[in-house]
Symmetry: C2
Subunit: 216 residues, 2 copies
DNA sequence: TCTGCAAAGGGTGTTTTCACCTTTGTATTT
DNA sequence: AAATACAAAGGTGAAAACACCCTTTGCAGA
């Protein structure tokens, strides 16, 4: 064996992160060289350049800088860095967005440890690793949708609106907070309905929470 | 040292659970004797009676049987069992409900490992363990509220209804699924509004997700 | 047996949400 | 200068959500 696979972790759930560190410590072909609580911290450490990991394991839902943003930022500077996404949710949207952002693999937090190990090894060796589950989901999604639509890049207004939707305020009250007419709020809502294939405020709330846009 | 503190885990996030197992394995005064993916499984194992842990660490958000239900069920049969609640969320409601359900301590998933260790040891020794954060929150909540209201013991119908609220179905559609009149659904909703001090469907959705009633 | 309570369901009216389509102002392109 | 594009905002009507108050039914306890 030449040398160990160097791994960086970013996850705001410290207990989870420490747990993963312990798991990896038990595997003799890899080691954790960086362990940060969010993407911004990890980027700082990477930029400092003291250690350069082979693989970054990123939680999708992080404060400050979430998994999507972090992945894009890392890929922008280090295009060959391998990224493994970790999340509690396995929605098609999450998986696809993370892969689009440059991740080479996707592991759920309720995966078994050997699945994590396999993902890390596969990612290191081949540059990607996908479980059958994820492959199946992605194929289904990519095939079943009529293209576009789900790119779902939301602008700042839409994100702010979505967050406010996750409260008991009516749209009129949200309009007041955002300083626009309630008609404009109607437009925001209708655009999001269209863009995200949603039909109700409840749908917006669920979407915002699942994607981590709303903190809950 | 006499013998190790025997710990049972119940958490549907396998990776997290395995991580905690590893952490505990590093501490020489305790050991994991049971590790299950939900409350129902844990109860089965406890009932089988082959091993009896000193402490049960329960995730609040589990499918099948969540932390609240599991804690109550365990306390009903083994009133002296110590229960440590673990959750991603630190809402007052979660903390208080869990303590009411019989938990002697509450740890967040983003806690540091030594906080977990301290909680386990404190719980074993004193029967309870509360961080200053949790103590402060509870005091605030208990003092600031005008009593009652938040007992919030929901019956099976209400729980089913809340879960269905976390979809894009209208109340009429929910009524069809539940096999009751949409008038009855109005009653369920109005009762929950009253009971939980909520004013809108969005509020119900947020409540259901925060408490783990809805899986999301 | 009577009483009272709780669950299921109904009536009615207001507010909010949703759908769809139009107008206005402003900035950018050609 | 004209054409284009887009965000903001208005109009209108239908559906859904919310509020409040009422009746029936069944069942448990005095």
């Amino acid at each position: 064996m030449n040398s160990k696979i160097k791994i960086a972790l970013a996850d705001d759930h410290t207990l989870f992160r420490k747990g993963v560190e312990e798991l990896i410590a038990d595997w003799d072909n890899m080691e954790v060289v960086l362990s940060e609580c969010n993407g911004a911290e990890l980027l700082k450490k990477l930029t400092a350049g003291n250690v350069m990991p082979d693989i970054c394991i990123l939680d999708i839902n992080m404060p400050e800088m979430n998994g999507f943003e972090t992945a894009r930022a890392i890929k922008a500077t280090w295009p060959h860095m391998h990224i493994l996404a970790v999340s509690v949710y396995d929605t098609e949207f999450n998986v696809i967005s993370m892969l689009r952002a440059g991740a080479g693999g996707y592991v759920l937090k309720d995966a078994r440890p050997d699945a994590l190990k396999a993902a890390i090894e596969g990612l290191y060796k081949n540059g990607f690793h996908h479980s059958e589950l994820v492959t199946g989901r992605i194929l289904h999604q990519l095939l079943s949708q009529t293209q576009e639509a789900n790119t779902a890049s939301l602008n700042a207004k839409e994100v702010e609106f979505l967050k406010l939707c996750c409260t008991e305020m009516t749209y009129r009250e949200i309009a007041d907070i955002m300083g626009v007419s309630h008609r404009t709020i109607d437009n925001y809502r209708d655009q999001l309905f269209e863009k995200l294939a949603i039909k109700s405020r409840t749908g917006l709330v669920l979407y915002a929470i699942r994607t981590g846009i709303a903190a809950i």
